[in-house]
């Protein structure tokens, strides 16, 4: 199963995309439960504060709710990550990134030598 990681924000506001292939078993046993847990862990009702899991393919055209990552705090210029595991997406802030996600991001970066394209995601 393909996992695609899109990093936006940061001082430069540059968007980078990396991807890797994992087995269906790994995705279902490790990453999908983790993605669901991110949403369940966060009791906040404020979309700006919460991580969100959304199913792509359906109408995800409303940007405000779709990607507001965690980090409605005093952090500025931090990265924001969108991780798509098959049809499931999780949005995470760099300042709230658990170790397994860091490992996944490192693997994806290593698996994508000529990182790019730099096209900003979801530009309408």
């Amino acid at each position: 199963m393909r996992i695609e990681i899109t990093r936006s924000g940061g001082f430069g506001g540059l968007t980078r995309t990396w991807s890797l292939e994992v087995s269906r078993t790994e995705a279902e046993q490790r990453w999908l439960p983790l993605a669901q847990a991110e949403a369940a862990d966060d009791p906040s009702d404020d979309p700006a504060e919460s991580s969100e899991v959304t199913a792509t393919g359906a109408a995800t055209g409303a940007p405000a709710g779709a990607a507001a990552p965690r980090g409605g705090d005093r952090q500025r210029d931090r990265f924001t990550y969108r991780i798509a595991i098959g049809y499931t997406e999780v949005h995470l802030s760099e300042s709230h990134l658990a170790d397994p996600w860091r490992e996944l991001i490192d693997r994806a970066r290593a698996a994508t030598p000529a990182s790019g394209p730099g096209k900003p995601e979801e530009l309408l």
């Binding site: 001082f11 506001g13 210029d77 309408l124």
Partner: protein
């Protein structure tokens, strides 16, 4: 206007002196009792000033206090203190650039606008360099600025450009003044203030007037492999880089090209191009030293209370127009330049 006196003798000593009944110390004792009477309202007003979450002016004049730490390549803060205020250069480029950059930023706010540090009350300026391994970013964490060394392929070290350091420190200034929410248009204004005062710090250090300045943010932090001069351009948003790997600078210059996106907190680093360009147009129309004309107007707007945390572009435009009229007079060329600038970028009709 409220005046706050600074007493060099601590209150507990004054109290002891005031209580002395020895005739040989009667003059000192009387003076101490008098000083304590004066001190009471001072302490009260200082307490009130410190209790306010947002300070509109400088309450207590402080001095420049810098502390630069080294994270040693780990993602842990604050790291080891390597240079404190007045200490000798470390010989490490990143640590010394951060130290000098904090000083330059402090001087702009202090010497031009009379503000003591980011909070107006002399808060020490903390920075950490060598954060993380191949770390491609610089950020403000709510208390300190943090700089990575870059990956060596796209980015070199982030302290190499003064505008990066002044940009991060200005996030501190914004946090303690308007505290603009970091989402959508208010977030783009937050970013724009950091770019605006970021370039003004550099222009002032280089003694450049508006016509001579580069108006670039982050020049010199790309490696030679990247097709680009900087991360952002206030003079021509959207033209700072155009590279095979990074793509093209996505910043719009006008509302016609406003980018609606879910990434980057609603495009805070993208749509900041619009208020950035408005500042550039106002500053070049006014001419001369940008930190004295347009910079002063923007600073006034932020400090005069008319920029709420959820401010949008039109409300910010009106706030700058008002502060231009207040400082330079209604119908002044400066006020006209500000309105023209916001009109050209499509924020005002």
């Amino acid at each position: 206007m409220q005046r706050i006196h600074c007493s060099i003798i601590p209150p507990h000593l004054l109290t002891r002196l005031a209580a002395v009944r020895d005739a040989r110390l009667s003059v000192a004792s009387e003076a101490a009792r008098h000083a304590l009477l004066e001190l009471e309202p001072v302490l009260q007003s200082r307490e009130a000033a410190l209790a306010r979450p947002v300070r509109q002016g400088s309450a207590v004049m402080g001095t420049l206090t810098r502390r630069v730490s080294d994270a040693g390549g780990r993602e842990e803060l604050p790291g080891t203190l390597v240079r404190r205020e007045g200490g000798p250069p470390t010989g490490d480029a990143a640590a010394d650039e951060a130290y000098d950059g904090l000083g330059a930023t402090y001087r702009l706010f202090s010497e031009e606008y009379g503000r003591s540090s980011v909070d107006g009350a002399g808060r020490p300026l903390d920075a950490t360099v060598h954060y993380g391994a191949n770390y491609d970013n610089a950020f403000w964490d709510g208390e300190r600025m943090v700089f990575g060394d870059g990956d060596g392929e796209v980015f070199g070290r982030f302290t190499a450009s003064l505008t990066v350091i002044s940009h991060e420190l200005t996030h501190g200034f914004t946090q303690y003044s308007t505290n603009l929410e970091y989402q959508g248009q208010s977030g783009a204004l937050n970013e724009s203030l950091s770019d605006v005062f970021g370039v003004l710090v550099e222009q002032r250090e280089l003694c450049q007037d508006a016509a001579a300045a580069s108006w670039l943010v982050g020049a010199g932090i790309f490696t030679a492999a990247v097709e680009g001069t900087a991360l952002r351009s206030l003079a021509a948003p959207g033209t700072a880089y155009d590279d095979d790997v990074l793509g093209r600078d996505p910043q719009p210059a006008t509302m016609a090209d406003y980018v609606v996106t879910a990434s980057d907190n609603g495009g805070v680093h993208i749509n900041s191009g619009i208020p950035n360009h408005a500042f550039y147009l106002a500053a070049t129309a006014i001419g001369g030293r940008a930190w004295e004309g347009a910079g002063r107007i923007w600073y006034d707007a932020v400090l005069n209370g008319s920029v709420p945390p959820d401010c949008d572009f039109p409300a910010f435009a009106r706030a700058t127009h008002e502060s231009a009229e207040k400082r330079f007079g209604p119908g002044s060329p400066e006020a006209g330049a500000v309105v023209d600038a916001w009109t050209q970028v499509g924020v005002l009709p």
